[in-house]
Amino acid sequence: MTATTGTVTRPPAPGRLAVLAIAAAVVVLGVAPWVVDSYVISLASKVLVLGLLAMSVNLLTGVAGLPTLGQAAYFGVGAYAAALTARTVTQAGLVQLAVAVAVSAAVAAVTGIAVVRTRGITFLMLTLAIGELAYSVALEWSSVTGGSDGRAAPHVVPLPGMGELRLDGYIYLWVLAVFLVLFALVSAVVRSPFGLALRGIRDNEARLRAAGYPVTRYLLGAYTFAGGLAGAAGALWISSQQFVSPSEVGFTVSAMALIAVVIGGLGSMSGAVAGTAVVVLTRDYIGGQLDGRGPLLLGIVFVLAVYLLPRGLAGLRTAFARPRAAGARGAGPAAGGDPPTRPPAVAAAAGRRGPSDSDGPGTLP
């Protein structure tokens, strides 16, 4: 079936500019190890790894409308699983990645059964509790996790037969390769029928149920997928740091990921990565120069982001690009729906998407 009617229009294709921007970003990221020093490159690895974690938070918070503070739990599960695999089974990065994804997705699926029945702030509360309990587990289950000493892992070998990656630049390239694949995968999922269903649930759960969607199952699917993604980030953390300790499972990591998503603009995957860059640079780079006061700066960034960036960086971008012109007929009698003002409902978390960022993931800032 093809559209032939004159009045029927196609959805706007992703702009050439966006494609160019992505290509440029990939090139810049790819040549980075030959340009900058090893401290910066290891920081860049960190941004990519935590950026994946932020994307998993964003999938739940920005796409499905479930604000989470517990993704570090699955990040930690993935990291410990990868570390144990590396110590006892194989140095092969791909195998560690697969194990980490499988284990963390399984844990997310089991814990998710209880969690996805709740919404809004209750969901936030419950995931926060899960994150913190996971921290306790990491600390106390010392026969597996090594307790507060953490677990070290040998250097990664991306594929069997290759050499160990010892230089920061090579490690970065391995992280980047996995990151790009997963970024493409997540972007595809957001554009898929499943992704549309999640956005629909975020906007109006009752409508989706009436349209024949088993909402809880879809959310459990999203939770499991996001858990697996966080686990993949955990495996890459082991690749890049060769070490995991309970502090990587802690509340601060989840909080960083959530604020990165908020700064980047809910729903935008490239925004989540950009937000992560802001957060990591603030805490580690600038904070490092200010006598280790990174957390203080991070807290200030939180407060500023909440007061000053109600729609995140993405909102800033669209506000400059197209000042609310889309759809001039917003003055219907049923108020409360105009995109720029977020409705004060529990699900309001979702309302951050701007009026014209439907291209969402895809463009790199």
Binding site: I121, A129, L133, V137, G299, F302, V306, P310, P344, A349
Partner: protein, 295 residues
């Protein structure tokens, strides 16, 4: 008599469980009511406890005066902190709950780092008043006297909160606001005043919990997050917006946590997980549910 033997072995842990349960209650009740009334999830609640614990550490002089001064300072600090938090979150009320949670989260991170800057990375020993430093005999076991006194004081505090909330006209107003905020507003009550009051009272309780609890759970990095999460679990288990629920949840969580630590130290956190999910599976809105949760 295996049961009696078991009881005897873990008696100390069980009494500890009561002490910690009541400690979590002082935080959970404020958290629960503020959330029940205004849907504000105050993630800086643990910071208030930490502040109280540092106050106790600074002012404790080994005597009763130090404790009294500490309590006075705690009340002042709680009022100031509660007022500040309420004032900061109010402008965001129309913007949705996530923003309020994020704001208090940011404040708690700032608070934690400032405490770290001021007090260093060690967990500080806060001394109980000299007269209570010893132990007493408890069914054949030595038990720290201060903990027993703490249980007494905290139980009295819990009872007072319960009576004010359930029996007084002020409490009725708070309960009504929890149940139907708009209706109370329509009746001509300034709900913002009620919110401010509950916010401040909750903050004072949390700080007092810190002042009194410092000899049991001393001030140090990470303590704020720990007590915050424990009280969150209490609220989730107990049910939102209810004093009775908070108390029930607190005693349950206290038992599971300390007893679990004593019986199976490696798996204590799993036990807590399990208890939380078990309660949620049977009663999704907690043991005592009063708030209609928005769909």
């Amino acid at each position: 008599m295996p049961v009696l033997g078991w009881l005897d072995t873990y008696l100390v842990s069980m009494v500890d469980g009561v002490a910690f349960g009541l400690l979590y209650f002082t935080l959970a009740v404020g958290l629960s009511l503020v959330f029940g009334m205004m849907d504000v999830l105050n993630l800086a609640h643990g910071t208030l406890y930490l502040g109280g614990a540092y106050v106790a550490y600074l002012l404790s002089d080994g005597g009763w005066t130090g404790l009294a001064v500490g309590l006075g300072a705690g009340v002042a600090l709680g009022l100031a902190g509660g007022a500040l938090l309420a004032a900061l979150t109010q402008p965001l009320a129309r913007r949705g709950h996530l923003d309020q949670a994020l704001l208090t989260l940011g404040l708690s991170i700032i608070g934690a780092d400032l405490f770290l800057l001021a007090a260093g990375g060690e967990t500080l020993p806060a001394e109980a008043p000299a007269g209570l430093r010893g132990s007493v005999e408890l069914a054949g076991h030595a038990y720290p006297a201060y903990r027993l006194v703490f249980i007494g004081i905290a139980a009295a505090l819990a009872l007072a909160v319960y009576l004010v909330f359930e029996r007084s006209s002020l409490g009725a107003l708070v309960r009504a606001t929890v149940a139907d905020r708009d209706m109370v507003r329509v009746l001509g009550v300034d709900t913002r005043k009620v919110l401010f009051g509950v916010f401040a009272a909750g903050a004072v309780l949390a700080v007092l919990g810190g002042v009194l609890g410092a000899p049991i759970l001393g001030p140090g990095p990470g303590v704020d997050a720990h007590v915050l999460v424990m009280s969150l679990v209490v609220v989730v288990v107990g049910g939102l917006g209810s004093v009775r629920g908070a108390l029930l949840g607190a005693l349950l969580v206290g038992q599971v946590d300390t007893l679990g630590r004593a019986v199976a130290p490696e798996y204590a956190a799993f036990l807590l997980f399990g208890a939380m999910f078990a309660v949620l599976a049977v009663r999704p809105r907690g043991l005592v549910s009063v708030v209609r949760t928005a769909p």
